[in-house]
Symmetry: D2
Subunit: 389 residues, 4 copies
C-alpha cells in the first residue's frame, strides 16, 4: 500500500510530497522527475508565473545514494519566489493590515466554502492551499511511481483531445497506437496527438484570451502493460475503476471522468460495447477491442487502461464574474489572481501522475514486497502464470 | 467517519452490509429501508429473478428497540432462494462435478480477470461476488444513511436521463425543481422525470430485447440541503468530488461520472461555467446558477449536489458474444446467466445509496458524532453560523 | 492487508466477525474453528452462562465448498438464548418499562462513560456491546487466521502464568519448549503449563469465590515459526510491537502488555538484555537467547514472538462495589450481571486470536495475497532467501 | 482524525513530521515546541551527539502568521551536522567504498531483520531510519498536539520511576498530585519526581558507564483534564487503551506498557482494583480512586489517564555484544555507533508526545471541527452536558 499526501501553500516555502511504501533498492531517475515537473509547467496559454517557477525536486528523506530506502520519501519543490511573499506567508506570528487580506471570494474556487468551513477572515488562508500549484507535489510523487512502473513494463501517458470547442476526432487518431499518440502529444504545444493541428487549438486559446475568457477541455490518460487482475471486485473500495475515478476527479478543476467508452457506451447496444475474448498460445487470453478501457469488474483485464477526463475552464478570467465582499457584503467583479487562459495540457500531466500513483498503489497491494528486486521477480512470475493459464 | 462494507455472494445465504459510525439514538425507519430495497428491484426491462427476490432487511446488530446503539450495524438481506443453491454454494467442503463448474468467462464481466487473479478453476467463485446482486447491501446501508440525512434536512434523489439512444432533453425538464423530477421519476416505469414519455423508453427496451441486445443509459443523482463546507480542499483524498466519483464509479457497470456541467463544461468559455456569488440577508451567500453541481474546491458550496453517471449495457445478452473456454481453450459463444435487458433504473437507486453513504461519511468527519441529538444540535449551529457570515 | 471487525450485542441475535483479505483457495478447517470457540468458553471459575452458549461458527459469506473465495468473510456465532431476550433486545421499535432499564453503572465497566458519551438513558445500550461476549467474534476470526498461519508454519499458543496471587515460577518451566508449555496448558483446567499445580490455582479461585471476590491474572501468548522481517521499522504505525500491543490491550479487562523481558528488562544492564547474533550454515543467523521476545526494531527477528499480558479482576463481583444511580443520583451497591470469578484462561485464548489476526495482517502486507497457493510459494522463497544470506 | 507520520534519516537532511487534521485558527506556540525538542535532548547519561543537535522546528507548511490553516502541517527539524555526512547520506547516486558500508549487525537493533527484509547490503540503510533520532519528529508533532490540548484544558506530563535497579517507591510520591510530580521531574536531571534523589540515579548511571553497560528503566506518562467518553467500546480498534498501547510501544526500545494498576492489578482481588462511583452536584460523577488509569471499557472515564512504560537498556554498549558479519559470516564484537548510557528521561518526553497525538486524535474523532473556535465551543458544551447528567 502506498500512502501519498501533499503539503504546502502556493506562495509558501514550497510544495511537498510525502510518499510511503515504495520498495527499497529502486534506482531513482532524478532527471526524469525533474522533466516531469517541467512538463507540468508547459503548455500554450499559461500565464507569467510558469516562467518563474522552473520546478526541481529535492529529496529530503527516503533516498540514499540514488536508491530508495523503503522508508518514507519526502520530496520538496521549493518555491523560488518565497522571499517576495514572506511577509504575508510566513509561519511566524504577525498581523496583516486589512488591505492585504483577501475578502473577495472568486466564483468557481474554494474561496467561499473554505472561508465558511474554517471560520476564516482572510480568503488567502483558503486559496493558498486550494491553488493548482499543489499539483507540483502530485507530479513529483507521480513521477517516482511512473519510474517504478516503467521498470515493471507499465507505461503511462496522456494526450489532449479538446480545448474549448476545438477537438481531435477519434477517427483521425484511431490508427495511431497509444504510445504514438503520446509521443506526438509531447511534441505539441497543446499536447494533442496531432501536433500539425496545433494552430487550430492555439487560435482557440488566443481568441479566448482576447475575449477575456478562459477555456477547459478534455484529455485521455492511459497505461499500457498492466497484467490482468490488479484491483478487486470483492469490495466497493477495492475496485480499481472507482479508485482511478477518485484520483482523477480530485485534480483541481476536473469535473468528469470516463473509463473506456464511458458516456458513449451508454448509448450503444451491448454487442457494440463488450470486448470479446480470444486466445492464442503466444498472447494467452486477449481482446481485439478495448471498449472497457482495460477494466472489467473493477480489475485490470490486461488491455490498456484508458481514462478520459473533462476540465472546466480556469475560474479566474479577465472577463469579470460577479461576487460579494465577505466583509462589506457589497457586490464586486471578481479580481484576477492568476492569468492562465487554459491549463488543460498541464492537467493531463497531473492526471498521468495520479494514475501512476493509483496503479502503483494497487500493484503494491497485490505484490507488497519490501525489496524492489523481490517485487520484480514476483511480478514476472505472476505475468507468466496468467499467460500460461 | 463511516466504515461501510458489504459481504455475501449472489446465490449464497444473503447479502450483508456492515455499517459503523452511525450516531446513537437515531430512530430507524424500517419501512423506508425496505421500500428502498424494493425500489432497487423495480424497473421495466428486468428479468425473472427480480420477482423472486422481494428483498427485506433484517438488522443483526447495532439497533435496539428501534434506535441505533452507536455500535456496528450489521444488516442482512437474506436470499430466499438459497435452499435451491445450497448444493453448489454451501460453505461446507465438497466437490462439484466438473459439469457444474463454470469455465466460460463472459466478456464485460469480472470473470476472466478474477479467475486469473485468484487462481481459480471455477468462474462461479468470481461471478457470485462480482454480481450486481451485491448492490442490495449498498442500498440497505445507503437507505439508513439517507434516513439520517433526511433528519438533517438533506434529501437525495435520482432520475434516469437516457436509455440506449432515447433520452430526455435538458430543455424539457429545466423548469422542474430537482425534487419534482425525482417525484415524477418515482412514478415512471423507467425512472424518467417525464413519465409521459415512458412509452418511448419502453419501446427502446422492447426493441433491444427482440434483437437479443442489452442497453445502458445515463442518470442523474442529486442531494439538496447540504450546507457549504462539507469535504475539504486540503488533501487530494478529502476532496468530496473525488470521493463521490469513487463511490459512483465503483457501482457495477458504471463507466462515467460527471459533476455539474461535467463534460459539457469543458466546451464552454469560463464566463458560462462558473456560478456567480450573490448575497441577501434571507439566504446568506447564494448562487443563481448551479453549473458546478454544488461542489467547488472539493467542498460543498451550499447548492444541490448534482452527479451524472453512465452505465454500460448489461454484459449478459441473448445475442451471444464470443469467448474462450478456460479449460479447453475452445472458442464458444457466451451463455446467459441472467436476462435483464436494462438495469439503468436500478442503478440510479444504487447511486442514491452510494451518494448518501459518501455524504453522511463526510458530514460525520465534520460534526460530533456519537449521539444523534448532539450531532443535530451542532449541525444547526453550523448552518446558522455560515448563514450569518 | 486484513480488515477485521466484530458486530453484535451480548444478548442480541449473535456475535459476528467480518474478515476481509484472506487469500482465496484456502481450505477452511471448520472443526478447528469450533474447537477454538469452545476453548474460549472453558476454564475453571466461569459462571453459568458458559454452559448455555456452546458456540459454533456459521459462515454467512466468503467461503464456498470448504474454500475461501477471496471475498469478505462473514462469520456468525448465533446466540442460542436470543428468544429469551427478544423483548428487550429486538431491533424493532418499542418502549421498555422503566424497571427494565438499567440505570446503575458498574465500576470497572464501560457503563458510565458510555452512557455519557452516547447520551443514553438505559445502560444496557452500552453494556450489551462492551461485554466480553464480543470476544467470540475475535476468536472465530482469529481461528481462521491461525488456520492460515499454521499452513505457513506459524504456530500460536498461550498459557496462564498467574491467577490472583498464585503464580508459576519462570524457573519451573524454563526447560519446557513453548509448544510443550502450550500442550500442557491445554490439559490444565486453568491453562497453566504445569497442570499438576492446578490445585493451587483452583483453591485461589475457590477462595475468591467464597469471599465474593473476582480475580485477574497474567498469561503468555506466543508465536513460533515467523521468519525475520515481518513488520517494519520505517513508520511508527508499521512497527509490529506497537500493533501487537494495541491488539492485546484492546481485549476487555487487559491492562498491561509486555514483549520479551518487558518490565523485567528495564531493571537489567544491557549485556543481560540483548540477544547476541550467531550464524551457522544450517540455521542461518540465529540467537541463543530470546529476551527481545522475537521483535527488534518493530520487526520479527526470526525467534518466537512472546507477549505477556495482565488482566484485571472481572469487575462484576458478589462483594458489592459502591456506585450511583444515574436517574436518582442515589448511591447503591453494584448489582451482578454475570458471575464469573476468573476469566484469565479465556482471555489467553482471546489473546491468541488477536495475535493471529495481527500477525497474519502483517504477513499479508509483505506477501502477495490474492491466492493462497501463490502466497505459500513466495513465502517459502522468502524463507529460503533470508536463510541463505 | 489526525494523520501523523515522520520522515527522515538520522544523519540525513533532517527529521520531518507530517501532521494533518489540526483545526484551523489555532495560535501555535513556537517557543513551546522548541522547548519540547530540547527536553527530548536532555537527561543525565546522554552521549556527545546531544550537544551538537539543539533541535529547532521549522514549519514548512500549514501555518501562516502564527495560526494553523487547517491544511497539512509539515515540520522540519534540520540536522545541523548534515554537511559532515553528505558524502555517505546524500540522495544523489554514488557508490560507497566497501569499507564505508556497515556490515555488522548490532544485537537489539533493527539491523539484521531490516537487512534481510529489504534485501540490503549496507546496514546503514536500516539503522539511519530505525535510530531513535526519529523521535525528534514525534516530539515536534506531539508538542503541537499538546499545545492544542492545553487550550482544551488537558495537560500532559511524565516522570521517570526507575533506572536500572534504582527506583522511586510509590509510597514516597503518593501524596504528590500528578502535576506536582511532573513539575519536580522537570527540575531533576533524570526526570524523577523527587529530584533530591537524583544522586542515587546518577550513581547508577555512572556505575553502568564505568562497567561499559547501558541501562533502561520505567516511567509514567499521564494526562489530566480529559472528559469521560473519549475513545469507544464499540470496536476493537476504537478502544483508546489499545491505541495508547500501540503509540507507546511503538517508541524505540519500549518493551512494556501498563494502564493504571497494570500488572499489579492482576494480583489483587476485584474489590481492590475497581474504582467506585460517586456523585456530587459540584463534580458530577467522580471517583475517589484511579486504579483504572482513567480508562474503562476503552473510553476515558474523566479521571487522569495514567500509563507506565518499560524501556530496555540502549542496545549499543561499550561492553561488546557478540554478532556476525553479514558478508564474511565471521563473528565479531559489536561496535558502538552511539554512546548514551541511558535514555529513559528522553523516552518519557517522547511518550508524552505520543500520548498527546493519540489523545488529540481521539478528541478530533469525537469533535471533528475544522475551526478551533468551533471545536472549543463544542468541547465546552459537551463538558457541561456530561457534568449535568
Amino acid at each position: 500500500m502506498l500512502r501519498f499526501f501533499t503539503a504546502g501553500e502556493s506562495h509558501g516555502k514550497g510544495i511537498f510530497a510525502y510518499l510511503e511504501g515504495i520498495p527499497a533498492n529502486f534506482p531513482v531517475d532524478f532527471d526524469f522527475i525533474n522533466r516531469e515537473l517541467s512538463r507540468r509547467q508547459r503548455g500554450y496559454g499559461r500565464g507569467g508565473r510558469m516562467k518563474i517557477e522552473r520546478d526541481r525536486v529535492e529529496f529530503l528523506s527516503g533516498v540514499r545514494l540514488g536508491r530508495t530506502l523503503g522508508s518514507p520519501i519526502l520530496m520538496a519543490v521549493w518555491n523560488r519566489d518565497y522571499k517576495n511573499w514572506e511577509e504575508i506567508m510566513r509561519p511566524e506570528p504577525g498581523e496583516l493590515p486589512p488591505e492585504k487580506q483577501v475578502t473577495r471570494p472568486r466564483p468557481g474556487h474554494a474561496d467561499l466554502s473554505g472561508l465558511l468551513k474554517f471560520g476564516f477572515n482572510d480568503i488567502r488562508n483558503v486559496l493558498e492551499r486550494s491553488s493548482a500549484r499543489e499539483t507540483a507535489g502530485r507530479v513529483a510523487a507521480g513521477a517516482l511511481c511512473k519510474n517504478v512502473l516503467r521498470e515493471l513494463g507499465v507505461e503511462i501517458g496522456s494526450y489532449v483531445v479538446s480545448i474549448g470547442s476545438v477537438k481531435i476526432e477519434e477517427t483521425d487518431i484511431q490508427e495511431l497506437p497509444l504510445t504514438e499518440r503520446f509521443k506526438r502529444a509531447e511534441e505539441s504545444e497543446v499536447r494533442i496527438p496531432l501536433p500539425e493541428k496545433d494552430g487550430l487549438f492555439k487560435e482557440e486559446i488566443d481568441r479566448a484570451k482576447k475575449e477575456g475568457e478562459s477555456l477547459g477541455g478534455t484529455f485521455v490518460v492511459f497505461a499500457t502493460g498492466m497484467p490482468p487482475g490488479i484491483g478487486a471486485h470483492t469490495q466497493w473500495d477495492k475496485r480499481l475503476d472507482g479508485r482511478i475515478a477518485q484520483a482523477i476527479m480530485s485534480i483541481q478543476a476536473i469535473k468528469g471522468v470516463e473509463i473506456g467508452l464511458g458516456f458513449r457506451g451508454a448509448e450503444l447496444p451491448g454487442s457494440k460495447v463488450h470486448d470479446e475474448i480470444f486466445y492464442s498460445k503466444e498472447k494467452g487470453f486477449y481482446r481485439e477491442t478495448n471498449r472497457a478501457g482495460g477494466l472489467e469488474g473493477g480489475m485490470t483485464n490486461g488491455e490498456p487502461i484508458i481514462v478520459r477526463a473533462a476540465m472546466k475552464p480556469i475560474p479566474t478570467l479577465y472577463n469579470p464574474l460577479r461576487s460579494v465582499d465577505i466583509e462589506t457584503k457589497e457586490p464586486f467583479e471578481a479580481s484576477i489572481e492568476r492569468s492562465d487562459v487554459c491549463a488543460v495540457p498541464a492537467a493531463s500531466v497531473v492526471a498521468e501522475a495520479m494514475l501512476a500513483i493509483t496503479l502503483l498503489s494497487a500493484v503494491l497491494e497485490e505484490f507488497p514486497a519490501s525489496d524492489f528486486n523481490r517485487l520484480k521477480k514476483w511480478w514476472e512470475d505472476y505475468r507468466r502464470e496468467v499467460m500460461n493459464r
